[in-house]
């Protein structure tokens, strides 16, 4: 297993560098931030100064080297917009995103497993059709729509929850998480249902029944673990989306997460912050992918063997 981890880490290094360089070059294609940060009257000299001060005058290759060198020493430079250290800004925003992502995923996974298995247990029953319909709908409604409607219903009309923000205690989590959870829940429920339907018709389930295993045992014991792998894959993809930042939800609810920071720094051409954010998310995504691979291995001994081979 450790050998596997080491190999994974090494093979992940190249893509990581590719992502960093990609962000670096792409970001610079979006234009010079001078207009945003210089007064309208800026003279050519002032522009020149600005460009030099921010190292934008060097050849792109020199900039790249500086940047990569900075990454190695964990120095990402300062934000153009706020003047703060880019790394500090990214690190401050990231926990908020992670909290949101983890709580969302937890609810989505638990919900999907319960609903999906229940629906798969009796395919095409009324319960199955209702839950399928709801999960399909959930997967296809724009999240900002839910967010705004939710704010007006639950915060303003009913007054049960705060509209937004992070300071209202647990209650302030409800709307953002509920908004975020809807789509993953819908998607995952469908995946779990599909995987469970095929797991439930596998020969080992029939074997379990021949031993007198009851419905609950068949579902929770025999089918679920076999159905877990595809769900894990999809959950991983959804989690990647959440780690990359739930821009819309963070924007609407004033959640100080990395998605909002990233979009702000894209719009503000704040390259240093953008790069710091991307490095952070990219590293966590690679870690996540490794965790998922470990998950596969824990679920299934055959994978475990392949992994250690």
């Amino acid at each position: 297993m450790t050998g596997f981890l080491r190999r994974r880490a090494v093979t992940s290094l190249l893509p990581l560098i590719a992502v960093l360089l990609g962000v670096f070059f792409l970001a610079r294609l979006t234009g010079d931030p001078a207009n945003l940060y210089l007064p309208v009257s800026a003279t050519p000299e002032q522009r020149q100064n600005f460009i030099e001060a921010n190292g934008l005058d060097d050849s792109i290759w020199v900039q790249m080297w500086d940047y990569l060198g900075g990454v190695l020493t964990l120095d990402f430079g300062d934000s153009l917009r706020t003047g703060e250290s880019a790394a500090a800004m990214a690190l401050r925003a990231f926990p908020a995103t992670l909290q949101l992502a983890f709580s969302t995923m937890l609810i989505a996974v638990v919900g999907a497993v319960v609903i999906g298995s229940w629906a798969a247990y009796r395919p095409n029953s009324v319960a199955d059709r209702i839950s399928s319909f709801l999960s399909m709908t959930a997967a296809s409604v724009p999240d900002f729509w839910f967010a705004i409607v939710g704010v007006w219903i639950f915060a303003v009309s009913l007054g049960w929850l705060p509209t937004s923000g992070v300071t209202g205690g647990m209650a302030s989590w409800v709307l953002p998480v509920a908004t975020l959870v809807i789509r993953p829940l819908g998607v995952l429920t469908q995946v779990v249902r599909g995987a469970m339907v095929s797991a439930l018709s596998a020969p080992y389930v029939r074997l379990a029944r021949s031993k007198g295993a009851g419905d609950l045992r068949v579902v929770t014991h025999h089918a679920l673990r076999n159905a877990a792998a595809p769900a894990l894959t999809v959950a991983g993809d959804l989690m990647v989306g959440l780690i990359n930042g739930a821009v819309v939800v963070e924007t609407i609810f004033g959640w100080p997460g990395i998605g909002k920071l990233m979009i702000d720094s894209i719009l503000g051409r704040d390259f240093a912050v953008l790069q710091a954010c991307v490095l952070l998310t990219a590293v966590s995504i690679f870690v996540l992918n490794i965790l998922i691979d470990i998950g596969y291995a824990l679920l299934d001994a055959r994978v475990r063997e392949k992994v250690s081979a």
Partner: protein, 311 residues
């Protein structure tokens, strides 16, 4: 030859009912197919009929309420802040929406699955390289990609398609690779190899048909995802540009009016939901219908399909 025996020559029995017959037996799937046909026809022909009305502004009749015929049937779903018919705009938007979502999904589906199947079939280094590329795209913030491409090349439908397609390729790539890697070790693939069949032919003959239903299911989920992404891009102002109109754009623009004119974003949202739900229903039906091992489920009376045991 003496070893074989006379078998009475009989007329071939139709073992495999036509897909259409099978479809008609499933009311829900039929409905879904009808809805999709309707959406498709609307997208093709609708704009010819109401393009003018969708453009026609009437600031004096802005944000008119829906469900009255006072403003003519075109205003039955209300009007937008410029007094344009929401219904006419929905119809015109259907074409833009589909002409972004369908090509984006198809493009990523085709590219992703072809590369994925190729990598999975051949395994080894090719597989590793392809997977790492997928990792790169996946961990790349898609929004950044969108902003950059749309910044440099202007936010036209074609560029939107490009961006959405690229960011979704890894999904198909990974699915196709995993399944193809598993399938290439199957015996019937070995059998095909013993006939001297070329890898490409094997991929198309044995791998593709088996993973296609899975890919299609992923694609319908993605169809929805792409429409929502397009909407999110509009939310950020870099999606479809007016006066072109898409459902995503309508939802995004209408969201600010949710309290004062809910119909502006509700109807396009509903259109997205209905379309994707229909697509999903039809895809899961197709998944059963094209799988000879599962097809029987569709032919049973509904209540029996799920039974696992005999009572």
């Amino acid at each position: 030859m003496s070893a074989t025996l006379e078998t009475p020559l009989e007329a071939p029995r139709s073992q495999n009912p036509k897909l259409l017959t099978l479809l008609l037996k499933d009311k829900v799937a039929t409905l879904a197919a009808l809805v999709l046909c309707f959406v498709f026809l609307t997208a093709v022909f609708g704009p010819m009929l109401v393009a003018e009305q969708a453009r026609e502004q009437n600031l004096l009749n802005a944000n008119a309420e829906p469900f009255t015929l006072d403003g003519g049937w075109l205003n039955f779903l209300g009007t937008d802040p410029l007094g344009r018919s929401v219904l006419a705009r929905l119809i015109v938007a259907s074409r833009t929406t589909l002409s972004v979502a369908v090509p984006a999904v198809l493009l990523s589906l085709v590219i992703g699955s072809l590369i994925g199947m190729w990598a999975g079939y051949h395994r080894g280094r090719r597989e590793t390289v392809v997977m790492r590329i997928a990792d790169i795209i996946l961990s790349f913030p898609s929004l950044l990609m969108a902003v950059v491409v749309l910044y440099i090349f202007s936010p036209s439908s074609a560029n939107l398609v490009l961006v959405l397609a690229i960011t979704r390729i890894p999904i198909y790539l990974r699915t196709a690779r995993a399944e193809s890697a598993e399938l290439q070790s199957r015996l019937f693939v070995d059998a095909a190899r013993t006939f001297g069949t070329k890898p490409t032919a094997i991929i198309f003959r044995h791998v593709l048909p088996i993973i296609l239903p899975t890919l299609l299911t992923v694609a319908t989920l993605d169809f929805c995802f792409v429409m929502l992404s397009e909407s999110s891009l509009s939310f950020l102002g870099i999606g479809i540009q007016p006066p072109s109109v898409s459902w995503g754009l309508m939802v995004a623009q209408g969201r600010t009016y949710l309290q004062t004119a809910w119909w502006l974003s509700f109807f396009p949202g509903l259109a997205i939901v209905i379309t994707t739900v229909s697509a999903t229903v039809l895809a899961s039906w197709a998944r059963l219908a094209t799988d000879p091992a599962q097809r029987w489920r569709l032919t049973l009376p509904r209540h029996k399909r799920g039974r696992k045991e005999v009572k």
